[in-house]
């Protein structure tokens, strides 16, 4: 199996005046290409912190992080921005779409920063929106879409640059159960097409979609279990 993520001894410390807070105490693991991983744990255990480091939004206080063979922990701001653009697709709990832009333009945006020309951009973005079932909602602004539709737009945006990795931090947290299931089915479908997916959740029902579940508690890995495939012992 080809390794996509290799994290070793990652520490994240927040200096809060006199106090020091270790959001991540010492975390190491590897994730291979095309895995579907759920990170679980109680609130405040460090899930989002870990996710932000994996997503290159944040840098660890110490430890190394190799993504796709590149040492990300040594990179400067510009290089990280480039990695976020090319290698990573984010899906957030609160969707995080640009309110003033329509669905199409939201999905187009990563391609703008990737330097792709307007015509090509529109074509790719339309395809991405169609692949999440929103071909008839392209010109809608976020406030004209339901929560589930917004999250689909966000997923289309995450997909559009063909990233190595899709990160979803509590993607169903703001959705009702039924819509949440639909989103999870969409992610499962993406995984079956070859995408590597990491989701953060604290719901068992959601986590069960993933084959591998990493549990963290107080900034440490408490458990790391991979379900056997059907047919495997």
């Amino acid at each position: 199996m080809e390794s996509l993520i290799k994290i070793e001894n990652i520490v994240k410390r927040y200096d809060m005046g006199a106090e020091e807070l270790y959001a991540l105490k010492n975390v190491s693991f590897e994730i291979n290409k095309n895995e579907y991983v759920a990170i679980m744990g109680p609130s405040g255990s460090g899930k989002s912190t870990l996710m932000n480091i994996i997503g290159c939004l944040d840098t660890p206080t110490s430890g190394t992080y190799i993504l796709n063979g590149k040492d990300v922990s040594e990179m400067d701001d510009n290089e990280l921005a480039h990695i976020r653009n090319k290698e990573i697709g984010f899906v957030f709990q609160t969707f995080n779409l640009l309110a003033r832009s329509n669905a199409l333009h939201n999905v187009e945006l990563p391609l703008v920063y990737a330097g792709i020309s307007k015509n090509e951009r529109i074509k790719i973005a339309e395809d991405a929106l169609a692949s999440v079932g929103l071909e008839d909602r392209m010109k809608h602004k976020p406030n004209e879409l339901s929560g589930g539709q917004r999250q689909r737009v966000a997923i289309a945006r995450a997909l559009v640059n063909n990233p190595s990795l899709i990160l979803a931090d509590e993607p169903t947290g703001n959705l009702d159960t039924k819509t949440g299931e639909e989103i999870m089915a969409l992610l499962a479908d993406l995984n079956s097409k070859g995408n590597t997916i990491i989701i953060v959740t604290h719901e068992k029902d959601i986590a069960k979609h993933a084959r591998r579940i990493i549990k963290i508690r107080d900034g440490l890995i408490a458990d790391d279990t991979t379900k056997p495939l059907k047919g495997e012992i």
């Binding site: 921005a81 779409l97 990563p110």
Partner: protein, 408 residues
């Protein structure tokens, strides 16, 4: 390629942001609007005043020195002037004998007279007595006929050259050449019409005059007045040398002791120019103060709303960074936004000042807004846009993506 695409996107963003806050953007540009309107209007006005000044000062001649009893813009005590001796033909002849750097020179003396031809008459015409060298000294062109000759001048022939105002008043439908007119009570034969000269600084007409030989003038009107000795320098570039030469000759003619100040004035166009420049530089300084003040006020306003705009869009900045926007992209996004706002202000300023310049042109003085002023105005607004936007944009560019995403 990438930069170009991002810039296009940034323009689209700023357009959206500005139209989403129309009223705020317009209010914020007020200072810039006033500043740009002020600077362009002021320049346009100065342009017009300059043209008018150059046009009317041309009659004085840049290369002519005027030796007269008084300085044109004398700043000293009246006491110093009161007892000055007259300038007379004696001084004229003395200079004529001794000066080496003078191309031509003529005396002028004058008094207002009534001019008459048949039933037509014109009062308060300036009658000037001079010599034939007047024409060369002042570079006079004739509209019709000729100037008087040396022979006519020396012998004091009763011949006269008239200005166009006189011609128009006395000869509305006939040719004046060869006609006999009365200057005061004396008859003169018209031999030429001087080309139209316009007015001096718009104050009095240079065409409301008649020119006769000095020899004749003194004979009929007397010699009891101070004259002006007008000298054309051989070389305009060395006019200061000529001035010094003439000054020392004059002092000799007047027998002044070395410690005594000049008791005559040597005037030249330069004096007008200096006085004029003092006046316009005052206008410029006032204009500059108004402009800078409103631009500074405007700039502070723009900086302020840009800070607000950045703050309001913290989340948006986080989102853009999460999907790959670099620091430089965000910096440019907000710089372009503030530059666009200021450019809009500049445009509005020009839209105010341009019609005003047309009004000035129509009713006050002929002028037009030079293209470079328009470009300057837009450049200044662009510059202020970038300057005012820099700190807010820089702030935005270095926001932490995680914290910005968490901002509600």
């Amino acid at each position: 390629m990438n930069f170009f695409l991002e810039t296009k996107e940034n323009f689209a963003i700023s357009f959206k942001a500005i139209t989403a806050n129309k009223m705020r953007s317009i209010l914020a540009t007020l200072g810039i609007v006033i500043g740009i309107a002020a600077v362009t209007l002021m320049q346009t006005a100065i342009e017009g005043i300059n043209i008018a000044f150059e046009k009317s000062i041309a009659a004085i001649g840049a290369d002519v020195l005027y030796i007269q009893k008084f300085e044109w813009f004398g700043k000293e005590d009246f006491e110093l002037y009161r007892n000055r001796r007259d300038i007379t033909m004696y001084h004229f002849d003395y200079i004529k004998r001794n000066a080496t750097t003078v191309a031509s020179m003529c005396p002028t003396m004058g008094s207002p007279r009534t001019i008459q031809y048949g039933e037509y008459s014109l009062q308060n015409v300036f009658a000037i007595g001079t010599t034939n060298e007047y024409q060369e000294t002042f570079g006079i062109d004739m509209e019709d006929g000729r100037f008087f000759t040396q022979k006519e001048s020396d012998a004091g022939y009763p011949v006269v050259c008239i200005g166009t105002d006189v011609k128009n008043a006395l000869f509305p439908n006939s040719n004046p050449i060869g006609k006999s007119i009365k200057v005061g009570t004396y008859s003169f034969k018209v031999i030429g019409v001087v080309e139209k000269q316009g007015s001096l600084l718009g104050l009095f007409s240079l065409d409301n005059r008649v020119i006769i030989p000095a020899e004749r003038f003194t004979k009929i009107f007397g010699t009891r007045r101070s004259i002006s000795i007008n000298l054309k320098a051989e070389d305009l570039n060395n006019i200061e040398d000529t001035r010094e030469e003439v000054r020392s000759i004059m002092r000799k003619a007047r027998k002044l002791q070395p410690w005594v100040k000049d008791d005559f004035g040597i005037n030249q166009q330069e004096a007008f120019r200096q006085t004029y420049e003092q006046l316009t530089s005052l206008i410029k300084i006032i204009g500059l103060i108004i402009t800078s003040l409103s631009l500074i006020v405007g700039s502070v306003g723009i900086t302020n709303i840009m800070f607000v705009s950045v703050k309001e869009r913290t989340k948006e900045i986080g989102i853009r960074k999460a999907i790959g926007a670099k620091r430089s992209t965000i910096l440019m996004q907000f710089l372009i936004e503030s530059a666009t706002i200021c450019l809009m202000g500049g445009f509005i300023g020009l839209m105010i000042s341009f019609p005003l310049s047309l009004i000035i042109n129509a009713f006050v003085l002929p002028t037009s807004m030079p293209l470079w002023v328009v470009i300057l105005g837009l450049f200044i607004s662009l510059l202020f846009g970038v300057l005012s936007g820099f700190f807010p944009a820089f702030n935005a560019s270095k926001m932490d993506p995680v914290e910005s995403l968490r901002y509600e």
